[in-house]
């Protein structure tokens, strides 16, 4: 009884806002049905004992992102997008977590007993660590999103998977990089570090030491088990809130240096405009409604819980607002649970659809006061003309509109 009380309170609170919406739901007796027949009972399956599968009726899957096949004709994994339209809660299951690769990548099959991490460069004591060594050290477990810099909505995107599927959130466990750097002892003048993976391209990125000492994490655990190979098994550098490419997979080496090292990945971030370059590390505040979203079909007028995800490289999400009338009025959405720093945050808003065409929007504000902009605001900031083709500089964190047609079909409002 006690556990039900909050739900009842929600019900009463929302009753006023929904003003009469419940008469629709009360029409049920007209289609009265007998209880469904008993489903087939499947005997215990030996193969389902060590590692269980999901229901065969659950079809939620990842897709190749951006029109490029994955694997491609060289057998390289390319970008793979997560099915956000089906997501619940804040954790992306490891099997559905998006995959991003530097230039396309093979997956190194690493025996963790053979894996080594070398930390060297401007340190007093270079050190080599085995996975066993790393697991002896003090660990942290944190929720963090990773988002690819190419996670950009376009007018061609039909679903939230196509427009926003290159972000995911998992629970990561590992050793803070600061612990290891203190163990090695940073030399004076050390200002950057280069992280390098073991995959065929040996992807390497330069990052500020300030970030390493603040919150970087060398993760070996993901969602309660070992890291997955597509996510960098056995060791991945987490750089919370930075663009996905910095989260170096198959981490094998960290070199502490005194300058930006201009690796291939770094060169990819070059821009001639300092203001645009400034937008290419830390991810801005971003949110998107995942239900209802492009491709969903509303079954009729009446009550729906609007659900979405919000995240920011600037820290925790403080506020999410939802508009159900194309941005005329904004309502404070409910944040589910406690918003974590640089983690997907689930928000909901109770909505009673009147059957009219409308547009659903969400925008978020993070703990340092950054507010998610609209495309129009960004274009105005850069004195650019807002056309459907306009491409937002840096990572695109603009507001995503979903258009609800009068037949209940849901469409990309940027189309």
């Amino acid at each position: 009884m006690g556990a039900k009380r909050p739900a009842r309170r929600e019900f009463l609170k929302s009753g006023a806002a929904l003003a009469g919406g419940f008469t629709l739901g009360a029409a049920a007796p007209a289609n009265a049905q007998a209880p469904p027949p008993s489903p087939p009972m499947i005997k215990g399956d030996k193969d389902q004992i060590p590692y269980g599968d999901r229901s065969k009726f659950v079809k939620s899957v990842r897709i190749a992102h951006g029109g490029r096949p994955s694997p491609d004709e060289f057998g390289l994994y390319f970008h793979i997008a997560a099915p956000l339209q089906d997501s619940v809660g804040v954790i992306t299951p490891s099997s559905l977590h998006f995959v991003g690769t530097t230039r396309g990548a093979y997956i190194p099959q690493i025996d963790p007993r053979e894996h080594r991490l070398l930390i060297h460069g401007m340190v007093d004591r270079p050190l080599t660590f085995t996975m066993e060594d790393l697991k002896r050290l003090p660990s942290v477990t944190r929720l963090h999103f990773i988002e690819c810099a190419g996670n950009r909505s376009s007018r061609n995107a039909k679903t939230v998977q196509e427009s926003h599927g290159m972000t995911s959130c998992a629970e990561w466990t590992g050793v803070p990089l600061s612990v290891l750097l203190k163990e090695c002892g940073l030399k004076g003048g050390a200002s950057w570090f280069v992280a390098e993976g073991s995959e065929e391209v040996k992807g390497a990125s330069s990052m500020p030491i300030a970030k390493a000492m603040d919150d970087c994490l060398l993760a070996y655990g993901m969602n309660g088990e070992d890291l997955r190979p597509q996510q960098g098994f056995p060791l991945r550098l987490m750089v919370p809130g930075f663009e996905g490419i910095f989260h170096t997979k198959y981490l094998r080496r960290i070199k502490v240096v005194d300058r930006y090292y201009m690796n291939y990945n770094d060169y990819g971030h070059l821009d001639r405009e300092p203001k645009i370059a400034a937008l290419e590390y830390q991810i801005g505040p971003k949110s998107v409604i995942t239900f209802p979203s492009g491709g969903h079909q509303l079954s009729g007028r009446g009550f729906y819980e609007i659900r979405g995800l919000a995240w920011s490289g600037g820290g925790a999400i403080r506020k999410v607002e939802v508009s159900t009338d194309g941005g005329k009025r904004w309502n404070i959405a409910e944040i589910k649970g406690t918003a974590q720093r640089m983690a997907h945050t689930r928000f909901t808003h109770q909505w009673n659809w009147d059957g009219q065409e409308t547009e659903l929007l969400s925008r978020c504000t993070d703990e340092i006061g950054q507010v998610q902009p609209s495309r129009a605001q960004v274009a105005k900031h850069w004195n650019a003309e807002l056309t459907p083709q306009y491409s937002v500089p840096g990572l695109d964190n603009t507001i995503q509109p979903w258009r609800i047609a009068s037949d209940g079909s849901v469409h990309n409002g940027n189309a």
């Binding site: 612990v179 280069v194 040996k202 201009m262 070059l270």
Partner: protein
């Protein structure tokens, strides 16, 4: 006499300070193994802008063209633009502004050392790490030559490679000075 005592005191103070520093930075957990300098050299394939990590070796543009035909043209095409792999030579000439000539590493990289680094670490696909240092110098020379960055007769080695003047010069943005809990760009877009 006084000056020498002062000197002694200064030395003593420095020794003490060094001791304090060493104490403050001593390892806490004692986990991990100290690698030998040879191990570090073998692992360290990061070539920074100064080129201090470059190994001995040398290569010419003509040698590079030959190696390219044998080991690279299969994916990148006969002259670097016809393959299924990314193009290596800008299709636009020097009359076009540099940033409009495409993201071509041997053309737009701020340091020629970055070209060497990438070829050495990441090429050829699925046979990474098989090129000799001479071959990497030669391929780097050839790619810089076909993009009009160096003359045909230039020889590249650990001395000359970091001195190659790339067309971009210093005309690219300085990186943001990142600090925790700071907006990525002040005033954006509100």
């Amino acid at each position: 006499m006084g000056a020498s005592t002062m000197g002694m005191l200064r030395v003593l103070l420095m020794v003490l300070l060094m001791g304090v520093c060493a104490l403050a930075q001593s390892p806490t957990y004692g986990v991990g193994r100290t690698p030998t300098p040879e191990e570090i050299r073998a692992w360290d394939i990061s070539i920074g802008p100064t080129g201090e990590e470059l190994p001995p070796g040398r290569g010419t543009t003509k040698e590079g063209a030959q190696i390219y035909r044998a080991k690279c043209a299969g994916c990148h095409g006969a002259t670097g633009i016809e393959g299924k792999a990314p193009i290596l030579k800008s299709k636009a000439g020097p009359e076009v502004e540099l940033w409009a000539r495409g993201r071509i590493l041997p053309l737009r990289a701020p340091f020629a050392t970055g070209v060497w680094d990438y070829v050495n670490r990441a090429m050829p696909l699925n046979r990474e790490g098989t090129l000799t240092a001479d071959e990497v110098y030669a391929l780097t020379a050839w790619m810089l030559y076909i993009n009009g960055v160096i003359p045909e007769d230039q020889v590249l080695d650990a001395e000359s490679l970091p001195k190659v003047k790339m067309p971009i010069g210093d005309k690219y943005a300085a990186l943001p000075d990142w600090k925790p809990k700071t907006p990525r760009l002040k005033g954006y877009p509100y």
